[in-house]
């Protein structure tokens, strides 16, 4: 049998890297499965947590933006407005957070076993998707209970979901590489996410903003995701500002490409600094 010959040098291995990632797809699945198992095995609270967290946020946002601030909802129940913003935002922020923390939380793996390092951030997405699906289940219950009709656009939801995941993965990879080298970066992250929740149309509709601000607002890549998401679920209840989804797509492609590039270039030194 002919044995494969590998040469290890100082340069980052570039050839056949993606083939190697593909060969480690079992590992990606197992690491994701581990995260889900660990989260939901430990206690009943584990599962309850996935239900409680979005529900609590939903109540708070609906109360603050709908009741107190009395923002317009285009005739829809305000909880629905919040939920359609919350679902993509939750997915985006969970993936971003999990991916950027993934190297540090798996430090023992990184320093003891070889596999393409990008396996770790990719597998971190698994548990986020799981949480997201639970939230989706909750949302469906709410939709049925309120008797909201869903349009044909709902079939486009998977694409918006993938877009949200990929955009979060792109900047998450950059953050992960950064996080491995600068440990206190993790303290910055929650602040960024907190701010992001208000700078993105999570608790309000984009149409609330004056028209002249729409263009600048659309530069936030999450705006495109949330707007598209609302459109898929609620139909034409809000403005669809074409540049915003375009910004999102360009942003996603760009960060994903750059994130993978940087991550790959830095991965051979992760074991030394982590």
């Amino acid at each position: 049998m002919l044995k494969e010959t590998k040469v290890i040098t100082a340069d980052a291995p570039t050839t056949a890297y993606w083939g190697e990632v593909w060969r480690h797809r079992d590992l990606i699945a197992f690491l994701a499965w581990r995260d889900i198992l660990v989260r939901y095995k430990q206690t009943i609270v584990g599962v309850a947590w996935a239900v409680l967290r979005p529900l609590a946020t939903l109540l708070v946002y609906t109360f603050v933006f709908g009741r107190i601030a009395q923002l317009p909802s285009n005739g829809l129940p305000y909880a629905l407005v919040v939920f359609t913003g919350l679902l993509p935002w939750q997915l985006f922020s969970l993936v971003f957070g999990a991916v950027s923390e993934s190297l540090v939380t798996n430090a023992t793996l990184v320093s003891k076993v070889y596999f393409p390092r990008v396996v770790i951030p990719i597998s971190a997405i698994g548990v986020c998707l799981f949480d997201y699906l639970i939230s989706c289940g909750l949302f469906l219950l709410l939709v049925v209970w309120l008797g909201v009709p869903l349009g044909w656009q709902i079939v486009l939801i998977p694409f918006v979901t993938i877009l949200a995941v990929l955009s979060a993965l792109g900047i998450g990879l950059l953050a992960a590489a950064f996080n491995a080298h600068y440990r206190d970066f993790r303290h910055v992250l929650p602040i960024v996410l907190q701010l992001g929740a208000f700078l993105s149309p999570v608790g309000y509709l984009t149409s609330v903003l004056p028209a002249k601000w729409q263009f600048i607002y659309a530069l936030n890549p999450v705006v495109g995701i949330i707007d598209a998401y609302r459109w898929c679920v609620l139909g034409t209840s809000d403005v669809i500002f074409p540049p915003s989804i375009l910004v999102t797509i360009v942003f996603t492609a760009g960060t994903l490409w750059y994130g993978l590039l940087v991550f790959h270039r830095m991965e051979s030194t992760f074991a030394d600094v982590i």
Partner: protein
Amino acid sequence: MTHAVRVERLGKRYAINQGRASATLRETITRGIHSLVKAKTPPVDDAASANGRQDADHVWALKDVSFDVAEGERIGVIGANGAGKSTLLKVLSRVTAPTEGSVEIRGRVASLLEVGTGFHPELSGRENIFLNGTILGMTTAEIRKKFDAIVGFSGVDKFIDTPVKYYSSGMYVRLAFSVAAWLEPDILIVDEVLAVGDMAFQRKCLERMRELTGEGRTILFVSHSMTSINQMCQKALVLKKGRVVAFDPVEDAIVKYRRSADEPGEDLALADRAEIDKLMVRGGSGDVRIRSWRLKGTTADAVPAIAIGGTLECEISYEPVHSEAVGAVLDVGFAIDTLAGTRIYTYVSGWQGHHALVEAHGGTTTIAISDLMLRPGTYLISLSLIHAGTPYDALTHCGAFGVTGPSEAGGISWQPDFGSVRFPISFTDGARP
């Protein structure tokens, strides 16, 4: 023979100042501001000091390491703490990239730098087998096929569905090692993992590793246990401060390692052995010092070889360091250890009423052991000078000698852990009464 691993001029440099490599963002920003402020003052001697710092900031964990491993060889890697053993294994297993040089590896590699990498306490034994197996590079189908063998080997069958956080530490490492034991790579890289479990389990592990090489697998094995290295490996690589000191058949390599272990000098040619003042494994009060010693039959590049039943002669010369020690009565102590460091013989001259009197310019004592009934192999000697129960001088493993003769053959082959003493023995047969 084809090589399985070829290492060429391998080097790995680390930044000593971890504050730079894994700094916090806060520190980096502060440093950045500082250097901005500093930049305004003319950098007079900055260049010079920067050059000096360049070297102080880095350390070569490995430097100019070259060696070849043939297919199916079991190689031990030995060296003191910080000699670069673990770094070498990390580079070979691709956990970290080398700074220079190259490694060529033929075949599938599995590395075991730690027992139970990726084990999660909340998961059951069964789940951890699958997780750990995947991390180590097995496919799911492969794990499923070997599952029973793994569980059987570990002996934790009854608790296989219990979360491993409830395992005793012994059960935990047994399960973890079992997963690795059923990996079937072409090249297995192992770091210190045999230091786990009880004696019986350790023996099982060694057996399993021997079995693996029997199937033509190559093993690289780091251990501090000379017994394990001696039992496991055919050759050993001795590292010291990141450089290769020796790459020889295992017994020779262990001798060189023992000699070099704590010697500050770089080189360890056998001719250097007389420079015993460099030895750091030296105890005693220092009132009287051994100045030189010589085993009869020693040449510049070989340890003396003595036939079984032959005579070992060692001449030591000593002198007092303080004048107060003149006139003291000395006992000369002599001891023999196996390469694994097990003491097999100690004798103090006073036991047969022999004492040496310390003269002002010192003296010599010759020790002769006749009827050296040891089995063939290499042994280490230690010397001491004792006065009134306290040592003046003590040299540990300062020399070595070999014993030659017919080795045990026929039936069961001799193993290093069978013991080294060879008493005259006879067997007489008779009929049952």
